[in-house]
């Protein structure tokens, strides 16, 4: 059955409220401490109040009943004595006398609010001298029967209505013998209204005291929570700042209590952490420094070797075949050694975090075109062609052209090497957040496992396959670092026999998070037409960073 909309809205509102409350409950220890303390306080106070007021009521009641019984007994015997001593002869006279005696005994201050005289129904004879003085009450048949059959005092709680209001009371009954007339029932009515008032006052006092105590309890809980949680919170903040890299962050410690101990322990931990970290980073700095220094120290002799080999190579025409070949080998290997050294240096720069991005807002298409043009001779030599597709609009992004060009150079060289003579697609695509460049070959392809390792340093896809173009084995690792430096992505996809795709994604502006990279990466089947190029908006519509 569908709920009516307003009910649904209410349910939804309640749901959100409950969620918020749960969130607050879960996230604030202070709230929990406060709530638990208050709740326990309320329960304890309620228990104490209820027990206390019960006991007070019982005691007050018992006392009053005892008093009333004693009072009633003494009056009954007094009235009996007076009745016995009366000289009246006739029942009519007797009635008058009894009434007078009873009226005389109805004195204020004794607590009795009324006196009732009832003739026992068993005595059929005689004149009825039922009468009532003061407040009257409805006597229950059970009480009357108990009074009639027993000679001792009987009593019963009862509701009393007096001139000052109604309330609880008791009625006490006993038999009296009126001479010549027979047994009568004499009842005294006592009001418990004053006792009830006393009880109410006590209860009110208890409630007020309880509320005050509860407030005090809550305040104390709040204060204690703050006293205890304050340092904990400060410790948490300090820990956060330390986690954020501010290792010199410390807590202020005062006194010698448990919280000061917390602060001291925290500071000790932070100090040891800082020491450890500094030692480790010092070590790694030394290591990086060493790699960098070695690379640099190698450069001067390498320059000499290079120039010497160049001179020898230029003069190789004058050598015998063996020496000539040696000169050629020396020449190419010096080149290789040099590019290895350069790549090694570049990697050490990334490792040291010394690589800096020199960004310009450029049209990536231009960089891609240039890289494709530069790679074309190599592709031709390897018997493949480069098929270049790009959107009509400029794909401008914040990029370091030198690094992007290097990435593309590496991707293209890699594709040419593995294309197996089949054409290579280079597809530029863009959306409002990022620019993508996919380099798609239809050659040997790679396995899933290989795509995961392809960016590893000095990794070789197939050790048994000779490298035709060369390369240092660091090219893709450096490219991946270059992409990361831009805040971009370099991803690989491959299937054996289908081919491989490398997709470079560069954010349009620094800091833009790429969620759904434009451009193609995966291919379902080889015979499927490549996805049409997604065209981005014109750069004029490029949103600001804040809007993304």
């Amino acid at each position: 059955m569908p709920r009516p909309p307003e009910r649904r809205a209410v349910v939804a509102r309640l749901g959100s409220l409950a969620r918020r409350a749960r969130l607050a409950w879960g996230s604030s220890l202070r709230l929990r401490v406060l709530a638990v303390t208050t709740l326990v306080g309320i329960i304890a106070l309620m228990l104490v109040s209820v027990t206390l007021s019960d006991r007070v009521r019982d005691t007050l009641y018992d006392q009053r009943v005892d008093e009333a019984l004693a009072d009633a007994a003494s009056r009954t015997s007094l009235i009996q004595t007076q009745l016995d001593n009366t000289t009246a002869g006739t029942p009519a006279q007797m009635q008058t006398v009894a009434a007078e005696i009873i009226k005389a005994n109805q004195s204020p201050g004794s607590g009795a609010v009324g006196t009732l005289l009832r003739r026992s129904p068993s005595e059929a004879a005689g004149i009825p001298i039922d009468f009532t003085v003061g407040s009257s009450v409805e006597l229950s048949p059970e009480l009357r029967e108990a009074v009639q059959t027993n000679t001792v005092q009987q009593w019963q709680p009862i509701a009393v209505t007096t001139t000052s209001g109604s309330g609880p009371g008791i009625v006490v009954g006993a038999q009296v013998q009126i001479p010549d007339v027979g047994p009568y029932e004499l009842y005294f009515v006592y009001s418990l209204v004053p006792e009830q008032a006393t009880l109410r006052l006590i209860q009110q006092t208890l409630v007020v005291a309880g509320l005050a105590l509860l407030g005090l309890l809550a305040a104390m809980a709040f204060y204690l929570a703050r006293q205890v949680l304050g340092p904990v919170q400060r410790a948490a903040h300090a820990a956060e700042r330390i986690a954020a890299g501010r290792l010199d962050e410390r807590m202020s410690v005062a006194g010698r209590d448990e919280l000061a101990t917390l602060g001291r322990s925290f500071n000790e931990m932070a100090s040891s952490l800082q020491d450890q970290f500094e030692r480790l980073s010092g070590l790694s700095k030394v290591q990086q420094r060493f790699v960098s220094d070695v690379s640099h120290e190698l450069r001067t002799p390498l320059t000499t070797i290079r120039m010497a080999s160049e001179m020898i190579f230029d003069a190789r025409g004058a050598f015998d075949p063996g020496t000539r070949r040696s000169a050629e080998l020396l020449h190419t290997q010096v080149d290789r050694f040099e590019s290895l050294l350069a790549d090694l240096l570049e990697i050490s720069r990334f490792d040291a975090g010394a690589a800096v991005l020199d960004v310009e807002h450029l049209d990536v298409r231009v960089i891609v075109r240039r890289a494709v043009d530069l790679a074309a001779p190599l592709a031709e030599r390897m018997g493949t062609t480069l098929v270049h597709t790009e959107p009509d609009e400029a794909c401008r992004a914040d990029v370091d052209p030198r690094r992007v060009e290097r990435i593309l150079r590496n991707l293209l060289a890699n594709a040419v090497e593995h294309a197996d003579g089949k054409p290579i697609d280079i597809v530029v695509s863009a959306d409002e957040r990022a620019v993508g460049v996919s380099v798609i070959d239809h050659g040997l392809g790679m396995t899933q496992r290989q795509t995961e390792q392809v960016f590893d340093r000095f990794w070789r896809g197939d050790p048994s396959r000779a490298r035709t173009i060369g390369g240092t084995g660091l090219g893709l690792a450096i490219s991946s670092e270059d992409a990361r430096l831009h805040g971009g992505l370099l991803e690989a996809w491959g299937r054996p026999g289908v081919g491989a795709t490398f997709r470079l994604t560069l954010p349009r502006r620094a800091g833009v998070v790429i969620t759904d990279p434009p451009g193609q990466l995966e291919r379902a089947h080889e015979d499927v037409e490549p996805e049409p190029v997604r065209h981005g908006p014109s750069p004029a519509e490029l949103p600001d960073l804040e809007e993304l």
Partner: protein
Amino acid sequence: MTCTILVVDDDPAISEMIGIVLASEGFEAAFCQDGEHAIEVFNEVGPDLVLLDLMLPGKDGIEVCRDIRRLADTPVVMLTARSDTIDVVRGLEAGADDYMVKPFKPQELVARVRARLRRQDHDASERLHIGDLVIDVAGHRVMRGNEQIQLTPLEFDLMVALARKPWQVFSREALLEQVWGYRHQADTRLVNVHVQRLRAKVERDPEHPEVVVTVRGVGYRAGAATS
């Protein structure tokens, strides 16, 4: 006329090798192994160009370069093992015209040396106006009114390149090719640093340049002639 080139490098092997390469191209080479004596040798030899290693024992290359600049406008090409450090920019700011990162090829070395030694052929009667300055191309002088402004040959070439085509905005790459003689992509910091140095000499207020004007995102152009 043979040109003399002073090679200041503490590594004797590379100095000797550079000497061999330069000799094979018809240059004469002089050598100095440390920074302390570089100026002494410089004064003694009177070279047409200095190849100066950045890291030298005693006095480092940057100081030597500054000292040379104080004495003469001789072109200085720095040799460095590190291209990524602030040292390159400091060296350029100290007055070096160009730099080469080790390891370099002999052809590259020779090309750079030739580029720096090459005098741009200037039309004898040519007078150019840029901002409130007059360039006397033949006399190799830049005048503001009657006052002559001292520029190094490279700075002069930079000014002339801009002033000859005042309608054109030059990209840094174009200037590198035209003034430095680079064919391929090179470090555009060269241009930035030299424009700064040039501005310090020719602008009335280097903060608000009127002679060499920056065109954001593109490059530089000559300021409109006012005289």
